[in-house]
């Protein structure tokens, strides 16, 4: 346990990712104990640093800390871990916890000025929305240098201390999107099961599968297909994906009752075409929180433009789900 005197301590660390670290990363990706993946804030020594070794700053989220130290294999340096309450650099910068105040405070409590002779800090570029470099300089004497977006580019960056435009660009690769799926899945699992079970008893397996498909399309297929779906807005991309996924269900509903009246067959098909796409679109709209490119004003416009359509489409679809069996019953 920490005592006040320990705050000056420089803890040793390595660039090795152990099986225990990997297990921790796995749990974090699945949303287990979401705010519990923390590193003790403070100063860490990587390798055998001297008074002239570089200082890297990161968040006290294990995925952030581990990405940094593993990227620095073979580098002797210091890692200054800010207390961001177990939140990654980008999100913590947005909240301000990866920020000027915490950085200046952490420099003071670790007495960094006595540990190193130089006055330069290397920060992750995505920490910049929380840190005012000129203010850090005037308050602590340390010059902030923004390194690359991705820790993996640090070895290359350290050769010249300048980042190429590629290193400065936030990307959202297939892999970046894939690793987000598990936690999205965990969040929708219970509502999806409830919806599927209710619809199964009320309307049969096709409806249950329709609900599950609409939700899974939003949280699994959508992140994967994001750049290849047409249109710019995430909501319309979601509508399109949801509509495509609803087609087989509509066809099955229409063709599954060859002896029924045509209004009954068309109504059954319409249920899927109206109720499924807004669910996928809504989940797609919520994916804006995960992308590194949607602006606040743009997302606001999306909400105003598409939420009413989603609500109407879903409402009419669900009304049909309830009304159709009743009308069929009344008409004998």
């Amino acid at each position: 346990m920490m005592s006040p005197a320990d705050t000056q301590l420089v803890r040793p660390t390595t660039s090795t990712i152990s099986p225990a670290n990997r297990w921790d990363h796995f749990l974090a990706r699945w949303g287990v104990d979401r705010s519990g993946h923390r590193v003790e804030p403070g100063l860490y020594a990587l390798g055998n640093p001297t008074k002239d070794s570089p200082v890297f700053v990161t968040a006290n989220y294990t995925l952030s800390f581990d990405a940094l130290r593993s990227a620095l294999a073979g580098v002797d340096g210091y890692i200054l871990v800010l207390d961001t309450q177990g939140i990654n650099v980008w999100c913590a910068a947005g909240k301000g916890t990866f920020g000027t105040d915490e950085l200046v405070h952490r420099i003071e409590v670790t007495q960094l000025g006595n540990v190193v002779r130089h006055r330069v800090l290397i920060l992750p570029q995505l920490g910049a929305p929380g840190v005012a470099a000129h203010e850090v300089k005037s308050r602590s004497g340390f010059k902030v240098e923004y390194g690359p977006v991705r820790a993996n580019d640090l070895p290359e960056y350290l050769k010249t201390h300048t980042a190429t435009p590629e290193m400065r660009e936030a990307r959202f690769t297939l892999l970046d999107r894939l690793v987000l799926i598990p936690v999205e899945l965990v969040f929708v699992l219970l509502p999806m099961l409830v919806a599927a079970v209710v619809l199964f008893f009320f309307n049969g397996w096709l409806s249950a599968a329709g609900a599950a498909t609409a939700i899974l399309s939003g949280v699994v297929l959508f992140p994967i297909l994001l750049p290849w779906l047409p249109t710019s807005d995430l909501s319309t991309k979601g509508f399109i994906l949801g509509e495509v996924m609803a087609l087989p269900f509509a066809a099955a509903a229409f063709l599954g009752r060859p002896d029924a009246a045509s209004w009954s067959r068309v109504g059954g098909a319409l249920t899927y075409l109206l109720a499924m796409p807004p669910v996928t679109a809504y989940l797609a709209l919520n994916f804006t929180g995960s992308t590194p490119f949607t602006s606040k004003s743009g997302v606001k416009r999306e909400i105003y433009a598409y939420i009413p359509t989603m609500a109407w489409s879903f409402g009419i679809g669900i009304a049909l789900v309830i009304a159709l069996p009743l009308i069929r019953l009344l008409r004998g």
Binding site: V89, P129, E169, L180, D233, T294, R301, I307
Partner: protein, 99 residues
């Protein structure tokens, strides 16, 4: 309205620019580029309003209404009657999962 991202709140006054280049360093979408005596706004539409350039501009040449471009946070803030959406008010699945 098929593209909600064709405009944003980014404003840049080149007359105040001291040409320190900080905005070109912090922007993850290459919105600014070095050009002679003052940086130039080259990709204004790519701005995601993260606010990094404004915060790191020592001369106040950049203004942007920054905030989280996250529908979950904004919808929940609206439902609660809050004016400003912030991360962490709601647990958005992916928002603390990135590196």
């Amino acid at each position: 309205m098929f593209n909600s991202y064709l405009s944003n709140t980014l404003k840049y006054n080149p007359e105040l620019c001291a040409n320190c280049g900080m905005c070109t360093d912090v922007c993850p979408h290459g919105v600014f580029a070095p050009d002679g005596n003052a940086v130039r706004l080259v990709r204004p539409m790519a701005c995601m309003e993260c606010g990094a350039c404004q915060l790191n501009c020592p001369t106040g040449a950049i203004a942007v209404d920054s905030g989280v471009g996250c529908a979950t946070a904004m919808i929940f803030a609206a439902l609660r009657g809050q004016k400003e959406a912030t991360c962490g008010d709601v647990v958005q699945p992916s928002c603390s999962s990135g590196g």
